[in-house]
Amino acid sequence: MDPLSWLLEPLRHDFMVRALLVSALVAGVCGVLSCFMNLKGWALMGDAVSHAVMPGVVIAYALNLPFALGAFVFGVGSVAAIGYIKQATRIKEDAVIGLVFTGFFALGLTLISKVRSTIDLTHILFGNVLGISGDDIRQTVLISVLVLVLLLLFRRDLILFCFDPTHARSIGVNTGFLHYLLLSVLSLAAVAGLQTVGIILVVAMLVTPGATAYLLTDRFDRMTWIAIGSAVLSSVLGIYWSYWMDASTAGCIVLVQTGLFLLSFLFAPRHGLLAQQRR
Protein backbone atom coordinates (compact mmCIF):
# COMPACT_ATOMS: atom_id res chain seq x y z
CA MET A 1 0.00 0.00 0.00
CA ASP A 2 1.33 3.45 -0.78
CA PRO A 3 2.07 5.71 2.20
CA LEU A 4 -0.47 8.33 1.23
CA SER A 5 -3.40 5.97 1.43
CA TRP A 6 -1.91 4.50 4.59
CA LEU A 7 -2.24 7.99 6.04
CA LEU A 8 -5.50 9.11 4.44
CA GLU A 9 -7.66 6.01 4.41
CA PRO A 10 -8.30 6.00 8.20
CA LEU A 11 -9.26 9.68 8.09
CA ARG A 12 -12.41 8.79 6.14
CA HIS A 13 -13.86 7.57 9.42
CA ASP A 14 -15.15 10.25 11.78
CA PHE A 15 -14.23 8.19 14.82
CA MET A 16 -10.60 8.05 13.66
CA VAL A 17 -10.38 11.82 13.18
CA ARG A 18 -11.94 12.34 16.60
CA ALA A 19 -9.60 9.84 18.22
CA LEU A 20 -6.54 11.39 16.60
CA LEU A 21 -7.45 14.93 17.63
CA VAL A 22 -8.46 14.09 21.18
CA SER A 23 -5.49 11.88 21.90
CA ALA A 24 -3.04 14.33 20.33
CA LEU A 25 -4.38 17.08 22.58
CA VAL A 26 -4.30 14.90 25.68
CA ALA A 27 -0.83 13.61 24.83
CA GLY A 28 0.52 17.11 24.33
CA VAL A 29 -0.85 18.29 27.66
CA CYS A 30 0.40 15.21 29.48
CA GLY A 31 3.74 15.76 27.73
CA VAL A 32 4.09 19.21 29.30
CA LEU A 33 3.18 17.81 32.71
CA SER A 34 5.56 14.86 32.31
CA CYS A 35 8.52 17.28 32.35
CA PHE A 36 7.53 18.40 35.84
CA MET A 37 6.86 14.82 36.97
CA ASN A 38 10.35 13.78 35.87
CA LEU A 39 12.13 16.72 37.45
CA LYS A 40 10.16 16.59 40.69
CA GLY A 41 10.63 12.81 40.93
CA TRP A 42 6.91 12.22 41.06
CA ALA A 43 6.61 9.30 38.62
CA LEU A 44 5.43 6.97 41.37
CA MET A 45 3.00 9.63 42.54
CA GLY A 46 1.66 9.81 38.99
CA ASP A 47 1.12 6.06 39.01
CA ALA A 48 -0.63 6.26 42.37
CA VAL A 49 -2.90 9.14 41.44
CA SER A 50 -3.87 7.68 38.09
CA HIS A 51 -4.98 4.44 39.75
CA ALA A 52 -6.62 6.17 42.66
CA VAL A 53 -8.98 8.22 40.47
CA MET A 54 -10.84 5.07 39.46
CA PRO A 55 -13.48 4.99 42.22
CA GLY A 56 -14.09 8.68 41.59
CA VAL A 57 -14.74 8.04 37.91
CA VAL A 58 -17.09 5.15 38.68
CA ILE A 59 -19.06 7.10 41.28
CA ALA A 60 -19.29 10.13 39.00
CA TYR A 61 -20.65 7.99 36.16
CA ALA A 62 -23.12 6.30 38.46
CA LEU A 63 -24.39 9.62 39.77
CA ASN A 64 -24.34 11.25 36.35
CA LEU A 65 -21.77 13.85 37.45
CA PRO A 66 -18.79 14.99 35.37
CA PHE A 67 -16.18 12.25 35.70
CA ALA A 68 -13.49 14.91 36.13
CA LEU A 69 -15.07 15.92 39.40
CA GLY A 70 -14.93 12.42 40.84
CA ALA A 71 -11.42 11.87 39.57
CA PHE A 72 -10.26 15.14 41.04
CA VAL A 73 -11.70 14.40 44.48
CA PHE A 74 -10.21 10.91 44.65
CA GLY A 75 -6.89 11.89 43.05
CA VAL A 76 -6.23 14.66 45.53
CA GLY A 77 -7.79 12.57 48.31
CA SER A 78 -5.37 9.71 47.68
CA VAL A 79 -2.40 12.05 47.90
CA ALA A 80 -3.75 13.57 51.09
CA ALA A 81 -4.16 10.04 52.48
CA ILE A 82 -0.58 9.19 51.47
CA GLY A 83 0.74 12.33 53.11
CA TYR A 84 -1.25 11.78 56.28
CA ILE A 85 -0.30 8.13 56.77
CA LYS A 86 3.34 8.90 56.06
CA GLN A 87 3.63 11.59 58.69
CA ALA A 88 1.47 9.79 61.25
CA THR A 89 3.26 6.42 61.13
CA ARG A 90 6.73 4.97 60.67
CA ILE A 91 5.87 3.32 57.33
CA LYS A 92 8.13 4.37 54.47
CA GLU A 93 6.71 6.47 51.66
CA ASP A 94 6.91 3.91 48.84
CA ALA A 95 5.01 1.39 50.96
CA VAL A 96 2.37 3.98 51.81
CA ILE A 97 1.96 4.89 48.14
CA GLY A 98 1.66 1.23 47.19
CA LEU A 99 -0.96 0.42 49.77
CA VAL A 100 -3.06 3.57 49.28
CA PHE A 101 -3.33 3.41 45.50
CA THR A 102 -4.10 -0.30 45.42
CA GLY A 103 -6.75 0.28 48.07
CA PHE A 104 -8.38 3.01 46.01
CA PHE A 105 -8.06 0.95 42.85
CA ALA A 106 -9.66 -2.06 44.56
CA LEU A 107 -12.53 0.15 45.69
CA GLY A 108 -13.01 1.27 42.10
CA LEU A 109 -12.94 -2.30 40.84
CA THR A 110 -15.52 -3.41 43.39
CA LEU A 111 -17.79 -0.47 42.66
CA ILE A 112 -17.62 -1.03 38.94
CA SER A 113 -18.63 -4.66 39.32
CA LYS A 114 -21.81 -3.47 41.05
CA VAL A 115 -22.71 -0.88 38.40
CA ARG A 116 -21.57 -2.88 35.44
CA SER A 117 -24.57 -1.98 33.35
CA THR A 118 -23.60 1.69 32.87
CA ILE A 119 -19.84 1.54 32.35
CA ASP A 120 -17.43 -0.85 30.78
CA LEU A 121 -14.51 -1.93 32.92
CA THR A 122 -12.22 -2.49 29.97
CA HIS A 123 -12.85 1.05 28.73
CA ILE A 124 -11.69 2.46 32.03
CA LEU A 125 -8.73 0.14 32.35
CA PHE A 126 -7.51 0.27 28.77
CA GLY A 127 -9.10 3.37 27.28
CA ASN A 128 -11.64 3.70 24.52
CA VAL A 129 -10.49 6.57 22.41
CA LEU A 130 -11.89 5.09 19.18
CA GLY A 131 -15.35 4.98 20.69
CA ILE A 132 -15.21 8.16 22.73
CA SER A 133 -18.57 9.88 23.16
CA GLY A 134 -19.27 13.53 22.41
CA ASP A 135 -19.83 14.25 26.07
CA ASP A 136 -16.50 12.70 27.03
CA ILE A 137 -14.74 14.65 24.30
CA ARG A 138 -16.10 17.92 25.64
CA GLN A 139 -14.96 17.12 29.17
CA THR A 140 -11.56 15.89 28.04
CA VAL A 141 -10.91 18.98 25.95
CA LEU A 142 -12.02 21.20 28.81
CA ILE A 143 -9.74 19.42 31.27
CA SER A 144 -6.80 19.50 28.87
CA VAL A 145 -7.16 23.22 28.27
CA LEU A 146 -7.50 23.90 31.99
CA VAL A 147 -4.37 21.86 32.77
CA LEU A 148 -2.42 23.57 30.02
CA VAL A 149 -3.44 27.05 31.15
CA LEU A 150 -2.50 26.31 34.76
CA LEU A 151 0.87 24.86 33.77
CA LEU A 152 1.66 27.84 31.56
CA LEU A 153 0.49 30.39 34.11
CA PHE A 154 2.59 28.94 36.94
CA ARG A 155 5.38 27.60 34.78
CA ARG A 156 8.25 29.55 36.32
CA ASP A 157 7.04 29.01 39.86
CA LEU A 158 6.67 25.29 39.22
CA ILE A 159 10.18 25.08 37.79
CA LEU A 160 11.47 26.86 40.88
CA PHE A 161 9.38 24.54 43.08
CA CYS A 162 10.89 21.46 41.40
CA PHE A 163 14.43 22.82 41.46
CA ASP A 164 14.76 24.49 44.86
CA PRO A 165 11.66 24.49 47.09
CA THR A 166 13.69 25.80 50.04
CA HIS A 167 14.69 28.93 48.19
CA ALA A 168 11.14 29.31 46.89
CA ARG A 169 9.80 29.29 50.43
CA SER A 170 12.45 31.63 51.75
CA ILE A 171 11.53 34.34 49.25
CA GLY A 172 7.86 34.06 50.11
CA VAL A 173 6.62 31.79 47.29
CA ASN A 174 3.70 29.71 48.51
CA THR A 175 5.12 26.22 48.02
CA GLY A 176 2.15 24.55 49.70
CA PHE A 177 -0.08 26.03 47.03
CA LEU A 178 2.30 24.90 44.26
CA HIS A 179 2.42 21.39 45.73
CA TYR A 180 -1.36 21.05 45.61
CA LEU A 181 -1.56 22.81 42.27
CA LEU A 182 0.76 20.23 40.74
CA LEU A 183 -1.18 17.40 42.39
CA SER A 184 -4.51 18.77 41.19
CA VAL A 185 -3.18 19.17 37.69
CA LEU A 186 -1.82 15.62 37.90
CA SER A 187 -5.25 14.26 38.90
CA LEU A 188 -6.92 16.13 36.06
CA ALA A 189 -4.32 15.05 33.51
CA ALA A 190 -4.64 11.45 34.70
CA VAL A 191 -8.36 11.48 34.02
CA ALA A 192 -7.82 13.05 30.61
CA GLY A 193 -5.15 10.48 29.78
CA LEU A 194 -7.49 7.77 30.99
CA GLN A 195 -9.74 8.53 28.02
CA THR A 196 -7.02 7.65 25.55
CA VAL A 197 -4.96 4.88 27.07
CA GLY A 198 -6.86 3.89 30.22
CA ILE A 199 -5.91 3.79 33.87
CA ILE A 200 -3.25 1.11 33.61
CA LEU A 201 -1.13 2.87 31.02
CA VAL A 202 -1.83 6.51 31.77
CA VAL A 203 1.33 6.76 33.85
CA ALA A 204 3.26 6.26 30.61
CA MET A 205 1.70 9.46 29.27
CA LEU A 206 2.75 11.24 32.46
CA VAL A 207 6.33 9.99 32.56
CA THR A 208 7.73 8.69 29.27
CA PRO A 209 7.69 11.82 27.06
CA GLY A 210 9.43 13.82 29.79
CA ALA A 211 12.04 11.11 30.30
CA THR A 212 12.69 10.90 26.55
CA ALA A 213 13.13 14.66 26.35
CA TYR A 214 15.25 14.85 29.51
CA LEU A 215 17.93 12.73 27.84
CA LEU A 216 17.98 14.97 24.79
CA THR A 217 18.47 18.43 26.22
CA ASP A 218 19.70 20.51 29.14
CA ARG A 219 17.16 23.28 28.58
CA PHE A 220 13.74 23.23 30.18
CA ASP A 221 12.03 24.96 27.24
CA ARG A 222 13.41 22.51 24.73
CA MET A 223 12.62 19.63 27.04
CA THR A 224 8.98 20.74 27.06
CA TRP A 225 8.78 21.03 23.28
CA ILE A 226 10.46 17.67 22.74
CA ALA A 227 8.13 16.04 25.28
CA ILE A 228 5.09 17.51 23.53
CA GLY A 229 6.42 16.47 20.14
CA SER A 230 7.21 12.91 21.11
CA ALA A 231 3.90 12.52 22.96
CA VAL A 232 1.80 13.80 20.06
CA LEU A 233 3.78 11.79 17.52
CA SER A 234 3.37 8.66 19.65
CA SER A 235 -0.37 9.01 19.95
CA VAL A 236 -0.85 9.69 16.25
CA LEU A 237 1.45 6.89 15.10
CA GLY A 238 0.03 4.58 17.77
CA ILE A 239 -3.54 5.12 16.59
CA TYR A 240 -2.60 4.54 12.94
CA TRP A 241 -0.69 1.46 13.88
CA SER A 242 -3.56 0.09 15.93
CA TYR A 243 -5.95 0.82 13.03
CA TRP A 244 -3.95 -1.06 10.45
CA MET A 245 -2.99 -3.93 12.71
CA ASP A 246 -6.32 -4.02 14.50
CA ALA A 247 -4.41 -4.02 17.79
CA SER A 248 -5.02 -2.37 21.17
CA THR A 249 -4.89 1.40 20.74
CA ALA A 250 -3.53 2.05 24.22
CA GLY A 251 -0.90 -0.63 23.76
CA CYS A 252 0.22 0.80 20.41
CA ILE A 253 0.41 4.40 21.66
CA VAL A 254 2.51 3.47 24.68
CA LEU A 255 4.67 1.12 22.63
CA VAL A 256 5.55 3.94 20.25
CA GLN A 257 6.33 6.16 23.26
CA THR A 258 8.57 3.47 24.68
CA GLY A 259 10.21 3.04 21.29
CA LEU A 260 10.98 6.76 21.11
CA PHE A 261 12.39 6.59 24.62
CA LEU A 262 14.66 3.70 23.62
CA LEU A 263 15.93 5.70 20.64
CA SER A 264 16.67 8.61 22.93
CA PHE A 265 18.24 6.30 25.51
CA LEU A 266 20.58 4.84 22.90
CA PHE A 267 21.32 7.78 20.63
CA ALA A 268 20.87 10.96 22.67
CA PRO A 269 23.84 13.17 21.75
CA ARG A 270 25.17 13.70 25.27
CA HIS A 271 23.21 11.63 27.75
CA GLY A 272 22.57 8.60 25.55
CA LEU A 273 24.17 5.21 26.07
CA LEU A 274 26.40 5.36 22.98
CA ALA A 275 27.57 8.90 23.70
CA GLN A 276 28.47 7.93 27.24
CA GLN A 277 30.41 4.89 26.14
CA ARG A 278 32.37 6.90 23.62
CA ARG A 279 33.68 9.09 26.43
Binding site: F163, T166, I171, R222
Partner: protein, 272 residues
Protein backbone atom coordinates in the same frame (compact mmCIF):
# COMPACT_ATOMS: atom_id res chain seq x y z
CA UNK B 1 30.88 51.31 57.67
CA UNK B 2 30.00 52.04 54.04
CA UNK B 3 26.81 50.10 53.44
CA UNK B 4 25.70 48.92 50.00
CA UNK B 5 23.12 51.43 48.68
CA UNK B 6 20.50 48.72 48.11
CA UNK B 7 20.62 47.32 51.63
CA UNK B 8 18.36 48.54 54.41
CA UNK B 9 20.38 50.97 56.55
CA UNK B 10 20.03 49.07 59.77
CA UNK B 11 22.81 48.68 62.27
CA UNK B 12 21.28 45.48 63.51
CA UNK B 13 20.64 42.69 61.01
CA UNK B 14 19.43 39.78 63.12
CA UNK B 15 17.76 39.87 66.49
CA UNK B 16 16.54 36.64 68.01
CA UNK B 17 14.96 36.82 71.41
CA UNK B 18 14.01 33.90 73.65
CA UNK B 19 13.34 31.65 70.68
CA UNK B 20 11.99 28.16 71.42
CA UNK B 21 11.22 25.60 68.72
CA UNK B 22 9.99 22.07 69.23
CA UNK B 23 8.96 19.31 66.85
CA UNK B 24 6.27 16.91 68.02
CA UNK B 25 7.02 17.80 71.62
CA UNK B 26 10.80 17.33 71.23
CA UNK B 27 12.68 20.53 72.00
CA UNK B 28 15.03 21.50 69.17
CA UNK B 29 15.91 25.00 70.34
CA UNK B 30 15.42 26.48 73.75
CA UNK B 31 15.61 30.14 74.77
CA UNK B 32 17.91 31.28 71.98
CA UNK B 33 18.80 34.95 72.23
CA UNK B 34 21.33 36.70 70.04
CA UNK B 35 21.88 39.89 68.08
CA UNK B 36 24.09 40.14 65.01
CA UNK B 37 25.02 43.54 63.66
CA UNK B 38 25.33 44.62 60.03
CA UNK B 39 28.57 43.71 58.30
CA UNK B 40 29.46 40.75 60.45
CA UNK B 41 30.55 37.24 59.52
CA UNK B 42 29.23 35.01 62.23
CA UNK B 43 30.00 31.30 62.58
CA UNK B 44 27.28 29.01 63.86
CA UNK B 45 29.00 26.05 65.44
CA UNK B 46 27.53 22.90 66.90
CA UNK B 47 27.29 19.15 66.41
CA UNK B 48 24.77 17.56 64.08
CA UNK B 49 21.44 17.73 65.85
CA UNK B 50 22.49 20.73 67.92
CA UNK B 51 19.87 22.89 66.22
CA UNK B 52 21.88 24.70 63.56
CA UNK B 53 19.50 23.91 60.76
CA UNK B 54 16.51 24.50 63.02
CA UNK B 55 17.81 28.00 63.66
CA UNK B 56 18.21 28.49 59.90
CA UNK B 57 14.67 27.24 59.34
CA UNK B 58 13.42 29.63 61.98
CA UNK B 59 15.26 32.51 60.31
CA UNK B 60 13.58 31.62 57.00
CA UNK B 61 10.19 31.39 58.65
CA UNK B 62 9.81 27.63 58.02
CA UNK B 63 9.07 26.67 61.59
CA UNK B 64 6.68 28.29 63.98
CA UNK B 65 8.43 29.11 67.24
CA UNK B 66 6.57 28.01 70.34
CA UNK B 67 7.99 31.09 72.04
CA UNK B 68 10.10 34.12 71.28
CA UNK B 69 10.50 36.22 68.19
CA UNK B 70 12.87 37.10 65.39
CA UNK B 71 13.38 40.44 63.71
CA UNK B 72 15.56 41.22 60.72
CA UNK B 73 16.67 44.79 59.97
CA UNK B 74 14.43 45.96 62.78
CA UNK B 75 11.31 44.51 61.18
CA UNK B 76 9.32 41.43 62.20
CA UNK B 77 10.57 38.34 60.36
CA UNK B 78 7.52 37.99 58.06
CA UNK B 79 7.88 41.52 56.77
CA UNK B 80 11.59 41.12 56.18
CA UNK B 81 11.08 37.85 54.33
CA UNK B 82 8.58 39.57 52.08
CA UNK B 83 11.32 42.07 51.25
CA UNK B 84 13.66 39.18 50.37
CA UNK B 85 16.03 40.16 53.16
CA UNK B 86 17.14 36.60 53.88
CA UNK B 87 18.90 34.37 51.37
CA UNK B 88 19.68 30.72 52.02
CA UNK B 89 22.70 29.25 50.25
CA UNK B 90 22.10 25.50 50.17
CA UNK B 91 24.53 22.69 50.77
CA UNK B 92 25.83 21.60 47.41
CA UNK B 93 24.75 17.97 47.93
CA UNK B 94 21.14 19.03 48.20
CA UNK B 95 21.06 20.56 44.70
CA UNK B 96 19.92 18.57 41.64
CA UNK B 97 22.81 19.39 39.29
CA UNK B 98 21.20 17.54 36.38
CA UNK B 99 18.27 19.92 36.40
CA UNK B 100 17.79 21.41 32.93
CA UNK B 101 18.42 25.00 33.88
CA UNK B 102 21.25 27.35 33.14
CA UNK B 103 23.30 29.56 35.40
CA UNK B 104 21.56 32.85 34.58
CA UNK B 105 18.16 31.28 35.30
CA UNK B 106 19.27 30.09 38.71
CA UNK B 107 20.45 33.59 39.55
CA UNK B 108 17.21 35.04 38.16
CA UNK B 109 15.33 32.88 40.69
CA UNK B 110 16.76 35.19 43.32
CA UNK B 111 14.57 37.93 41.84
CA UNK B 112 11.28 36.00 41.76
CA UNK B 113 10.10 37.24 45.14
CA UNK B 114 9.97 40.80 43.83
CA UNK B 115 8.30 40.01 40.52
CA UNK B 116 4.66 39.82 39.52
CA UNK B 117 2.79 36.51 39.58
CA UNK B 118 3.90 35.42 36.13
CA UNK B 119 7.54 36.03 37.10
CA UNK B 120 8.34 37.96 33.95
CA UNK B 121 11.69 39.65 34.56
CA UNK B 122 12.01 43.37 33.94
CA UNK B 123 15.02 45.50 33.11
CA UNK B 124 16.05 45.82 36.76
CA UNK B 125 15.96 42.07 37.16
CA UNK B 126 18.18 41.50 34.16
CA UNK B 127 20.59 44.14 35.37
CA UNK B 128 20.75 42.64 38.87
CA UNK B 129 21.45 39.20 37.41
CA UNK B 130 24.20 40.58 35.21
CA UNK B 131 25.83 42.52 38.04
CA UNK B 132 25.71 39.55 40.37
CA UNK B 133 27.17 37.19 37.80
CA UNK B 134 29.93 39.65 36.97
CA UNK B 135 30.83 39.98 40.63
CA UNK B 136 31.34 36.26 41.04
CA UNK B 137 33.04 36.10 37.61
CA UNK B 138 30.47 33.79 36.06
CA UNK B 139 28.99 36.15 33.43
CA UNK B 140 30.79 34.41 30.54
CA UNK B 141 29.40 31.06 31.75
CA UNK B 142 25.81 32.28 32.17
CA UNK B 143 24.40 29.96 29.49
CA UNK B 144 25.99 26.83 30.90
CA UNK B 145 23.75 24.16 32.36
CA UNK B 146 24.50 24.24 36.10
CA UNK B 147 25.93 20.72 36.17
CA UNK B 148 28.64 21.81 33.73
CA UNK B 149 30.15 24.13 36.32
CA UNK B 150 33.12 23.17 38.48
CA UNK B 151 32.70 22.86 42.22
CA UNK B 152 33.84 26.40 42.94
CA UNK B 153 31.74 27.85 40.13
CA UNK B 154 28.66 26.08 41.50
CA UNK B 155 29.14 27.72 44.89
CA UNK B 156 29.59 31.10 43.26
CA UNK B 157 26.43 30.67 41.20
CA UNK B 158 24.39 30.31 44.37
CA UNK B 159 26.17 33.23 45.99
CA UNK B 160 25.26 35.26 42.91
CA UNK B 161 21.63 34.30 43.44
CA UNK B 162 21.77 35.66 46.99
CA UNK B 163 23.32 38.88 45.62
CA UNK B 164 20.68 39.22 42.92
CA UNK B 165 18.06 38.79 45.60
CA UNK B 166 19.54 41.82 47.36
CA UNK B 167 19.65 39.90 50.63
CA UNK B 168 21.10 41.64 53.65
CA UNK B 169 21.32 38.38 55.59
CA UNK B 170 22.94 35.30 54.03
CA UNK B 171 22.50 31.90 55.63
CA UNK B 172 25.26 29.57 54.44
CA UNK B 173 24.87 25.89 55.18
CA UNK B 174 28.27 24.17 55.47
CA UNK B 175 29.70 26.30 52.64
CA UNK B 176 33.13 24.71 52.77
CA UNK B 177 32.07 21.07 52.60
CA UNK B 178 34.01 19.35 49.82
CA UNK B 179 35.71 22.53 48.62
CA UNK B 180 39.34 22.70 47.52
CA UNK B 181 41.68 25.26 49.03
CA UNK B 182 41.66 27.60 46.02
CA UNK B 183 37.87 27.80 45.93
CA UNK B 184 37.82 28.27 49.66
CA UNK B 185 40.11 31.31 49.42
CA UNK B 186 38.00 32.75 46.64
CA UNK B 187 34.83 32.30 48.67
CA UNK B 188 36.37 33.89 51.72
CA UNK B 189 37.37 36.90 49.61
CA UNK B 190 33.76 37.19 48.44
CA UNK B 191 32.48 36.83 51.99
CA UNK B 192 34.74 39.65 53.09
CA UNK B 193 33.43 41.86 50.27
CA UNK B 194 29.86 41.08 51.35
CA UNK B 195 30.79 42.04 54.88
CA UNK B 196 32.28 45.33 53.69
CA UNK B 197 28.95 46.10 51.98
CA UNK B 198 27.12 45.69 55.25
CA UNK B 199 25.68 42.23 54.64
CA UNK B 200 25.60 39.84 57.54
CA UNK B 201 26.66 36.25 56.97
CA UNK B 202 25.64 33.41 59.23
CA UNK B 203 27.78 30.38 58.44
CA UNK B 204 26.83 27.01 59.82
CA UNK B 205 29.75 24.67 60.22
CA UNK B 206 31.16 21.96 62.41
CA UNK B 207 34.69 22.61 61.20
CA UNK B 208 36.38 24.93 63.64
CA UNK B 209 39.40 25.77 61.50
CA UNK B 210 37.25 27.95 59.24
CA UNK B 211 35.69 29.80 62.09
CA UNK B 212 38.89 31.08 63.65
CA UNK B 213 40.19 32.13 60.25
CA UNK B 214 37.71 34.81 59.24
CA UNK B 215 34.58 34.85 61.41
CA UNK B 216 34.18 38.03 63.43
CA UNK B 217 31.81 36.40 65.83
CA UNK B 218 30.81 32.90 66.79
CA UNK B 219 27.66 31.34 68.17
CA UNK B 220 28.22 28.04 69.93
CA UNK B 221 24.99 26.14 69.93
CA UNK B 222 23.61 23.02 71.48
CA UNK B 223 19.83 23.30 71.74
CA UNK B 224 20.49 26.75 73.10
CA UNK B 225 23.20 29.38 72.80
CA UNK B 226 26.12 28.20 74.90
CA UNK B 227 28.33 31.15 74.10
CA UNK B 228 28.16 34.07 71.74
CA UNK B 229 30.55 36.91 70.98
CA UNK B 230 33.86 37.77 69.37
CA UNK B 231 35.60 34.72 68.02
CA UNK B 232 38.69 35.18 70.17
CA UNK B 233 36.65 35.43 73.36
CA UNK B 234 34.24 32.63 72.65
CA UNK B 235 36.74 30.05 71.49
CA UNK B 236 37.93 28.83 74.84
CA UNK B 237 38.71 25.25 75.70
CA UNK B 238 35.90 25.24 78.18
CA UNK B 239 33.25 26.57 75.78
CA UNK B 240 34.23 24.09 73.10
CA UNK B 241 34.05 21.24 75.54
CA UNK B 242 30.52 22.31 76.44
CA UNK B 243 29.53 22.56 72.79
CA UNK B 244 30.85 19.21 71.75
CA UNK B 245 30.25 17.27 74.92
CA UNK B 246 33.80 17.23 76.16
CA UNK B 247 35.56 15.57 73.24
CA UNK B 248 39.06 16.77 72.35
CA UNK B 249 39.20 19.61 69.87
CA UNK B 250 41.00 17.80 67.09
CA UNK B 251 38.20 15.25 66.76
CA UNK B 252 35.60 17.90 66.27
CA UNK B 253 36.08 18.20 62.54
CA UNK B 254 34.33 14.86 62.22
CA UNK B 255 31.03 15.45 63.95
CA UNK B 256 29.76 11.90 63.66
CA UNK B 257 32.43 10.87 66.15
CA UNK B 258 31.66 13.62 68.60
CA UNK B 259 29.44 12.24 71.35
CA UNK B 260 26.94 15.07 71.68
CA UNK B 261 24.10 14.78 74.17
CA UNK B 262 21.76 13.77 71.39
CA UNK B 263 23.72 12.51 68.43
CA UNK B 264 22.02 11.62 65.21
CA UNK B 265 19.78 13.34 62.81
CA UNK B 266 18.52 16.83 63.05
CA UNK B 267 14.83 16.70 63.78
CA UNK B 268 12.87 18.10 60.88
CA UNK B 269 9.27 18.97 60.36
CA UNK B 270 8.58 16.23 57.88
CA UNK B 271 9.84 13.26 59.83
CA UNK B 272 9.22 11.82 63.19
Amino acid sequence: MASHPDLPPSAERIRVSHLCVSYHGVVALHDVTLTVKAGIICGLVGTNGAGKSTLFKALMGFVRPSQGEISINGLPLRQSLRRQAVAYVPQMESVDWNFPIHVANVVMMGRYGGMNLLRIPGRDDHRAVRESLERVELWPLRHRQIGELSGGQRKRAFLARALAQGASVLLLDEPFAGVDIRTERLMITLFQQFRAEGRTLLISTHDLSHVTGFCDEVVLINKTVLAYGDTSEVFTEENLARTFGGSPAQRLTSPSLAPGPEPGREPSGSER
